[in-house]
Subunit: 603 residues, 2 copies
């Protein structure tokens, strides 16, 4: 189906909005009146601009407080409408949205509403315009879609139809099944918006918290299925009022928006995309750093060994067991400082994974960075992290390891040869997201990579709230924790970390410390509280206290973890996770964040 | 009464919070458990720190999910409680908050709750601790204050009392009158928080949107009156969970907090402060600028004349009618660029106004900036704007004009001598507030200056939402519009402006343009919409369109306004206001903001 987006869903001037919608591949737009009023372009220029950009103008909106009013008021409304229909002729658009009235003048009289809407449609017809009447969830007398439809049906006017909006329908708890009773040709327009499930005033909820389909809690797919069954074949249009999108750059928001419609259409069989290829493990994490020494010191103390060197680039491979970390001292590091730049994901079908990512609008990266490199499939995530699809150990496919020259006498790399507490693999990667794109990141990782999204949690930092949400592969083979910090200005909220799994965190922490590593110290009060909450043995408690190990437990098992000091924006975590435990120590995060703040130079 | 604040109400480490509370003059604190857990200080060190800072620890909180549970669970709870009572002994605090249970294990059994709370109080008594039981608004079985009190009453234990929290009581819509039926000595603690009136999930409302008394919509004074009548004489303590305060600096937040308690106590006669002295007009607005030339060009084109020069400083007085603008090219300007730095307010009693401001914790500025200056009373507003209390034309009092030497042949300064459209006075001043202190600014201007607060409005900017709220003096003699922009990072959101009143904005705009002034152009589409909405004459509409004049109207009259281009962070507005109209053209603000963005260099 054709896709469209309301200009109110994107930030910036009308010109910026149209450009972003076009670049993201939308077929059309809804022009929101305030965007037109504020634009220096004439309606004719807007029409031409849209044509140049390959966009149709699918809707002009909104007209408010039109129907079911005393005759003198309605006469004024018709006068106003005539102006707008003239404007629409200049714009070259043929459908106008009329919202159900919220005016104190409006009467609770469906027959009057139908009669006046019919007269409005008469006038509209003279201008070649169709009127799409929509029930606002907070309309004064008409607030449900079936009520709006009954008025449209009673009017029986060819230029009068209804507009359905998923937010208004689902926020009221209406059953969308009744949509199938509306003749498809009388559904003049369909607006889609999702929203988190909040118990709050519906007007505020609508104006500030809408989001793109798949990013909230509504069953948008279920609703769309009913609309399609009713025979609707107009555009799928996104109308999303959102305080964050208002501030975000229009370009990435438009891409996020269209991705959400692609996933939605796929979910009910309206379109076919390359199948998701779910990653089966983490091949490597790649750090960039201008100075390898501090990172090497931490990795070495964690028990990883430098086993190989890239044949043509300043990149070292450090590994132990299944945990592999690349340390890249190339140009990007000199620009951005020490950070997590790329993730290698083990994939059963790297080319297929890249195809799906591309179909879902992820930028595809060049397969070969240098002529001699193995040709690897890779895409960029919304936060810029590069995702490489790897097929380690499959001789028929390009192998990232082929680019690396082993280093002789590199030391022990197998966890098997070792005593307890060796690092076995990467437990999870934590990536702090740009402030405006947290919901986009979650949808990206779920839809592009086929990972499963866990619940979002709020964590108190001494200087604000963090939101965090993990996406995981089957059996915890891949775990990525996405976080967003409180203040868009604070550089420190860009912290990232690599969590390494061990079967004995006490032994691992001791060895790390013995090897010269510095653990993040935790406050004694935390351990007094642990003693109050759990029946841990004195020995356990003493070891945790000594090493700064944090403890969490739920019905599915225990979770023990400790942290290294931070190098640049990156730190490491040692994790001992019971197989059933799906958490990340959220209840300990405030203490950990405070300890990290305490390590920083005074503000 | 003694004043106290919960550490959760302030940002930062525990040490930072305690320091801020002490500096703002609080008598005590509630220690929030998570702040203690995250602190590297031992309980003994925290106790000593508080003593050094002159703070008592009035409460330790919270203990959760204690009561009305099966016996084995309760035994575990008692074990946990013993740890906490030991901790409280080390802290030197004697009251603990127990919140009504939200546990799925809790039984709907008041007798069991009373019996178990009684056993908890037995244990507490051994440690010299009192238990204050509070109904959470979302408690599983106990969610109202009278219910919690009935359980405490049934228990009849000397070490068990109740804690009242204004948020939990008022958010549920409970009638606070019943508080008077509780014996004062059984009210062990009182927590105060206000909140905006939002229809939303009460848990989310509580965790994110609480604010200080007088900044929300609750009748906190009414509740406090009942608590005092009940005989309570413990501390008034602020427990405010707020996402903005979490990010704001603790110092200013603590001052804002204590100011709110002073105003609250005054409002019900618990304390006496110097009377508010309401300003009767605007004596002057003072601009600082590194380069007087662009500002002088605009002021001159607006019809103001440079009439006097400061005797010892690089400050010029520009005036026309009652509109006076100082242009200061001193050192502050070289630091901060062109901005609005000070406001002179006509005051019937300048010394009294300053006394009140000082009593409400406003920083008092030196009366004489230089030995030869007139001794003027002045204080700093929360955003740093200097407020001078002036008594123009009263010979018995120091006069700011005495510092200025008239310039001969300065041109026409009286509106009376002039044709229509002359600037008559300052209509309003608009000050963009630092992001974290919008609510503080509104409370400051209301409580310190005795101005009246109007409703808050949201305005869409192309790159986010603005919030705006005006404070006004009687009859509109003083109008200050406080605004806060969408993004804390954007320098442009610090824009300020001076609105000048005229009785003929068309004439004023024409004269401004004829004198070489540049008006902010408005889009043609805006005027097409005006034509659709209002029955303006063709002549009016043509003039507005030509000059970029915006139009608004309500039941109380019309409002016409236009804008100059921006100099530094400052621009000017010409305003023609019908006497009854109280607005500021909020409906036109999106168009104006977009026009201002369009004038800026491309991002």
């Amino acid at each position: 189906m054709r896709t469209s987006i309301a200009t109110v869903s994107l930030s910036g001037s009308l010109t910026e909005k149209l450009t972003a919608a076009s670049r993201a591949g939308f077929d059309g737009v809804e022009i929101f009146e305030n965007d037109l009023l504020a634009s220096p372009l004439t309606p004719e220029e807007i029409r031409a601009r849209c044509a140049d950009l390959g966009l149709t103008i699918d809707l002009y909106q909104p007209m408010r407080d039109i129907e079911a009013v005393p005759e003198d008021e309605f006469a004024r409304n018709l006068r106003r409408a005539r102006h707008k229909f003239e404007l629409m002729r200049r714009l070259g658009t043929d459908t106008v949205l009329v919202c159900s009235s919220v005016s104190p003048l409006a009467l609770d009289d469906d027959a009057l509403a139908a009669a006046q809407l019919s007269r409005l449609a008469d006038l509209a017809q003279d201008f070649g315009v169709r009127v799409a009447y929509e029930a606002l969830a907070w309309g004064r007398h008409v607030s449900t879609y079936d009520h709006a439809w009954s008025i449209v049906e009673a009017a029986g006017h060819p230029a009068l139809g209804t507009c359905l909006d998923s937010f208004h329908i689902l926020s009221r708890g209406s059953d969308p099944k009744g949509i199938e009773d509306i003749p498809g040709e009388k559904i003049f327009f369909l607006q889609l918006a999702d929203a988190p499930l909040l118990a709050m005033d519906v007007l505020q909820w609508s104006r500030h918290y809408r989001c793109f389909p798949g990013q909230g809690g509504f069953d948008i797919a279920g609703l769309l299925r009913h609309v399609v069954r009713a025979g609707y074949d107009g555009p799928l249009s996104l109308e999303v009022f959102n305080d964050v999108f208002r501030q975000a750059e229009a370009g990435p928001t438009a891409v996020d928006a269209r991705r959400s419609l692609l996933v939605l259409q796929e979910s009910i069989g309206l379109t076919t995309l390359p199948q998701p290829v779910v990653p089966t493990g983490v091949a490597f994490a790649e750090l960039v750093t201008p100075d390898a020494e501090p990172v090497a010191a931490v990795l070495g103390a964690l028990g990883l060994a430098r086993t190989a060197r890239h044949r043509s680039k300043p990149v070292d491979l450090w590994e132990r067991g299944e945990a592999r970390v690349l340390v890249n001292t190339g140009p990007a590091a000199r620009r951005d400082g020490t950070g997590l730049a790329a993730i290698g994901l083990e994939s059963p079908d790297p080319a297929g994974a890249a195809l799906r990512a591309e179909a879902l609008l992820a930028p595809v990266l060049p397969r070969r960075r240098a002529p001699e490199d193995a040709p690897l499939d890779a895409v960029a995530a919304p936060d810029g992290t590069e995702l490489f699809f790897c097929a380690t150990g499959r001789p028929e496919l390009p192998n990232w390891r082929a680019d690396f020259e082993p280093i002789k006498d590199a030391g022990t790399t197998s966890a098997g040869e070792d005593t307890a507490g060796g690092v076995a693999r990467i437990d999870h990667l934590a990536l702090t997201q740009p402030w405006h794109h947290f919901d986009e990141a979650a949808l990206f990782h779920r839809s592009v990579l086929g990972l499963h999204g866990q619940e979002s949690v709020d964590v108190a930092d001494p200087y604000g709230l963090f939101r965090s949400r993990a996406v995981t592969g089957p059996g915890g083979s891949v775990r990525i924790a996405l976080a967003v910090g409180p203040a868009p200005t604070e550089d420190e909220t860009r912290a990232q970390h690599i969590a390494l799994a061990t079967d004995d965190v006490v032994a691992a922490a001791r060895r790390f410390r013995a090897a010269g590593g510095q653990l993040l110290p935790m406050p004694a009060n935390y351990y007094d509280d642990l003693a109050a909450r759990y029946d841990l043995t004195e020995g356990e408690l003493a070891a945790y206290r000594e090493l700064g190990i944090l403890y969490d437990r739920d019905a599915h098992g225990e979770f023990r973890h400790c942290y290294t000091r931070t190098v640049g924006r990156v730190f490491f975590e040692l994790v001992q996770r019971d197989p059933g435990h799906q958490g990340y120590g959220a209840q300990n995060a405030p203490v950990r964040l405070a300890a990290q703040h305490a390590q920083r130079p005074r503000r």
